[in-house]
Assembly symmetry: C2
Homo-oligomer: 297 residues x 2
């Protein structure tokens, strides 16, 4: 089934489009988890990340449809971190979750092909990944090609959520910011392969921290799924995100990482309950204050 | 010692600034190497890449100062590929070579920190890495911070060598292409920490396939080391690259990957000699046709 249709069906089944980001940091892990993997070696840190990530998946799988493991923290643990992230992606799929490998890759020609095949059809086998557009169309297209061989998806960075995002993304060329040029390219790519839901397999990463840009990009991109980071810990509020959705509640996935998986003090013995509470609160907030509340089977 | 000084000293000692890119592709490996790792599993492919990469290092270490392993091909082999790339980086350093981890990372805040620390001070421990600037200054600065804690270097993508590079990089904002805005940012970053050679620790990736842009960016960036891909197999000629150098022959590193490490037919039993011949020919070409020929201790 087409990636956008799978994604929308999964969100409708759960009644929300919250994505739980899995960005493990050693100092934020539960003390109990750290205690079982003490020593400080990359292998031990990786084992703690794996244990924590798998437990997070079990906790949130009944509540949400999408998870997004962030490669940087696993990469920092070397080969064992790679294995831990593979295990988390595999378990997520087994639990029926849609996976976004957040690795922001970008390279040219056969090098991009190697990244794409690894992410979507090889050693990672995620449902989708994030891609950096700076190198231009021939660096993005190998990712689309790979995605289309496995009903996968690609989320292209358009307007990111960080404070300095505008340094290059907001520069005006031909009267339009660079991010809009990127958005228009995403529009052309996603129109190449629309699912029965009307959405394409190429989405856009647009930060929650810039509501005006979010609305503008939604106008440029009626058929693209938005992956919206920056909600919660980074400062984006539900009201800021409303413009990312189409009127029927579809069209956007909202990510929260630290707001859910680092919402407790490390020595809190009730950290699992805290994660559940934070996920439920985020869902309530988002479905109450944005069109996401209309998502139903 | 400051990264730029180390790099320039190493190039002067070898009398050239050729960088050998290590981008192993299974179908281009010597048949003899493939035969020792047949089976097709990611672990077997990784073992072949490691054997080949280590042999390439031994062959080229007497000739060149810099090597650049490309992460994509190792990542495609999973955890064993990660280990293979670690082994190649470690051996390169042991042989006195300067290493560039070509992984084109880019992310925000603490995520960028994790990538940077892994690349320069952690599980990779390369001398330098490549970074994608699309996310803006606060996404690049964690890489600079990490580099400055270990006398490492950062090469920021400015104008890449692929045919579609211009789609976003050449858009004009305030009368200047986007790549020039990025180059000016690189200029500010590199000026923060100049070595005794007069070069900074933040370099620019500028493709050999665009000679006019190369000359323009050199004017904007007098103090940055250029990493120039696209020479050889991608179509850039030595004459096209001349503008990357300053008059004394310093200031640029020219990469060749396939032109050296895939210059033979897989069943050629003389593949090691072919690699040596190709490296020597590239050095002769570059030192004969560009200011690189003036590099001496």
């Amino acid at each position: 089934m087409h990636f956008a249709d799978r994604l929308l069906n999964a969100c409708r089944a759960k009644g929300n489009a919250l994505c739980v980001g899995i960005d493990p940091r050693w100092e934020q892990l539960p003390s109990a988890v750290r205690g079982r993997h003490a020593g400080g070696s990359p292998d031990q840190v990786a084992a703690a990340y794996e244990e924590f990530g798998l437990r997070v998946l079990e906790l949130v799988a009944p509540l949400v449809a999408v998870v997004k493991p962030q490669s940087a923290f696993f990469e920092a643990c070397g080969p064992a971190g790679f294995k831990a992230q593979q295990a988390i992606l595999a378990r997520a799929k087994a639990l029926g979750l849609i996976t976004i490998l957040d690795n922001k890759r970008g390279d040219i020609a056969s090098t991009a092909e190697a990244y794409a095949d690894a992410a979507l059809r090889g050693v990672w086998s995620a449902d989708s990944l994030t891609v950096n557009p700076y190198l231009g169309r021939d660096a993005v297209e190998p990712f689309l090609k790979s995605a289309r061989q496995c009903d996968g998806g690609v989320f292209v960075l358009v307007r990111t959520s960080n404070p300095g995002a505008g340094q290059f993304q907001d520069l005006l060329a031909d009267g339009k910011p660079i991010y809009q040029h990127v958005a228009e390219a995403v529009g052309a790519w996603t129109a190449e392969n629309l699912g029965s839901s009307g959405y394409g397999d190429v989405g856009a990463v647009v930060g929650a921290t810039h509501p005006a840009e979010l609305a503008r990009i939604r106008q440029v991109l009626p058929n693209a799924v938005f992956l919206v980071p920056g909600y919660g810990a980074q400062g984006g509020a539900a009201a800021d995100i409303a413009a990312a959705f189409r009127a029927d509640g579809a069209g956007a996935i909202v990510n929260s990482s630290r707001g859910i998986t680092a919402c407790f003090k490390p020595d809190d013995p009730q950290w699992e309950q805290a994660i559940l509470n934070a996920a439920r609160a985020a869902i309530k907030d988002l479905t109450g204050s944005t069109p996401m509340g209309k998502l139903r089977i």
